[in-house]
Subunit: 297 residues, 2 copies
């Protein structure tokens, strides 16, 4: 089968054998919301010469404005419920992919709070983890532009909490008064400044107040300009972590993402006295395999 994780900024395709092992891997640079109706042609351009008939997709490709809008499956949901919520692309598949069976995985929604929460793509990454996590309660953190905290209980996804951490970092880094004191290109992580940001986030002044501390840190030369982005990053990650950990399970926090991001989150979680377990970023391939097995045997 072919597993496709098609997000807002790129596409990752995996060719899998009958045991879910990755035989080949490719990448496309067209985001699922920027395809202008050319999803079939775009996908065919990446996987056209892989002749496997079954293609499973997850991610923003199933969002409004993507290829096909697949309704959100509400929490709680495990592999079976997610597999049952998959939608066949049918006539959407077009000529370029004739003869294929294309299915798209639903996103998930959490309606427990006054404000709903959602994810698309991350449910499939977590689906790839479920067997490994086993019974009991677990917290999975997938940091990024929109960081997702996913609660797993006894093999089912039971809660979603999103934090705008990465997006806000980018906005403040580029467009705010804080940007004026910072170098334009991203310097390497300054661990001491990052830790100082984490500590400031715990002082109880609130994020809106703490952000102004980046300005005064520049004003009074508390840090070099090169260290200010790390201080800002520590502040934001610290403010993401505090409410996320307030009701978290015992045991390690499960981290899924790029090495550079996980390095920061592992450091922050460790400062909060939490152990972490890191997982491969390409978990979506395994998740899609598990969903295919659950639906089609």
């Amino acid at each position: 089968m072919i597993a496709v994780d098609w997000g807002g900024s790129n596409l990752r395709a995996y060719r899998l054998d009958d045991h879910g092992r990755v035989l080949g891997q490719r990448r496309g640079e067209v985001g699922a919301l920027a395809c202008d109706g050319q999803h079939a042609q775009t996908l065919a351009g990446v996987i056209g010469d892989w002749d496997d008939p079954l293609v499973l997709l997850c991610g923003m490709v199933g969002a409004r404005g993507g290829w096909i809008e697949v309704p959100y499956v509400p929490c709680p949901a495990g592999i079976a419920t997610l597999a049952a919520g998959m939608v066949e692309l049918g006539t959407h598949a077009g000529d370029a992919l004739r003869g294929r069976r294309l299915w798209c995985v639903p996103g998930m929604a959490d309606h427990r709070g006054a404000a709903a929460d959602v994810m698309r793509g991350e449910e499939t990454q977590v689906a790839g983890l479920l067997a490994q996590l086993g019974p009991g309660r677990h917290d999975v953190c997938l940091p990024g532009t929109h960081s997702k905290w996913v609660r797993v209980e006894d093999g089912a996804i039971t809660g979603i909490s999103t934090a705008l951490t990465g997006e806000l970092y980018g906005l403040l880094r580029r467009h705010s008064i804080l940007a004026r004191s910072m170098p334009a290109t991203e310097p390497p992580l300054d661990p001491a400044a990052f830790d100082a940001g984490l500590a400031a986030a715990r002082a109880g002044g609130g994020l809106l107040h703490d952000l102004f501390g980046v300005r005064t840190a520049a004003l009074f030369a508390r840090f070099e300009a090169e260290a200010l982005p790390s201080y800002l990053s520590g502040l934001l990650v610290g403010h993401e972590l505090q409410p996320a950990l307030a009701g978290a399970a015992d045991g390690p926090a499960h981290l899924v993402g790029s090495d550079a991001l996980l390095e920061r989150y592992a450091r922050a979680l460790s400062a909060h006295g939490r152990t972490v377990q890191r997982h491969r970023e390409d978990l979506a391939a395994l998740g899609l395999y598990r969903l295919a097995r659950a639906r089609f045997g």
Copy 2:
């Protein structure tokens, strides 16, 4: 005398009589940091035909990058200390203002926390309030791009806490994923959506998480698009208020600012069970008068 409140975006000049009453009022549209060395000419263009010899200035005109950098006076400071920290512009005054005595009020800094806090201009507005506040402890809130919470104890300014509320609202409103769901022009306040934002801020999920709730509110049509900016505003003001009120004094919160902003803050403070007292936005004129009397009799 002439009192000039020269901030980052405009200049307000007041001609005062010997009792501090406002005889005339003018406005210039050139910010103190955007004058390109032409401060004297710019000011002369506004007040040139008022022949009072004494001119007192406050605000960003005294910041690095302004007309003259006046060192911050640390907390605590009352009228006498602020007046003693004023700096004469001397030869900076230039030809256009020959024969005038120009003095600039210092900003204030609060070094109590790990991250310092500062203000320039607001100390003078609060100086105009001090006599009226009387003994005991009071909290003054000056909402804006950078909201200032100023603590007053027995006639002295003893603490400063800044929140990036207004700036973050603008960034999110224009540049974030949340902007896509909102009308481009600013709709009138939707009180119900604003209150829902205030309530969400108290739920303990943290600001970074709550912001994503604006996205899902659009996704699930919880509010009309016209109401989303009010929901975002309620979230941000709510998150500003919580830490600010955590250690606040009893008695009314003193609000200084524009009617539209004070309306929102009064509403939010009332939702937190606090009474408010509103004050005129042009308090800086009175503050400059009091500082002139303290320094020059």
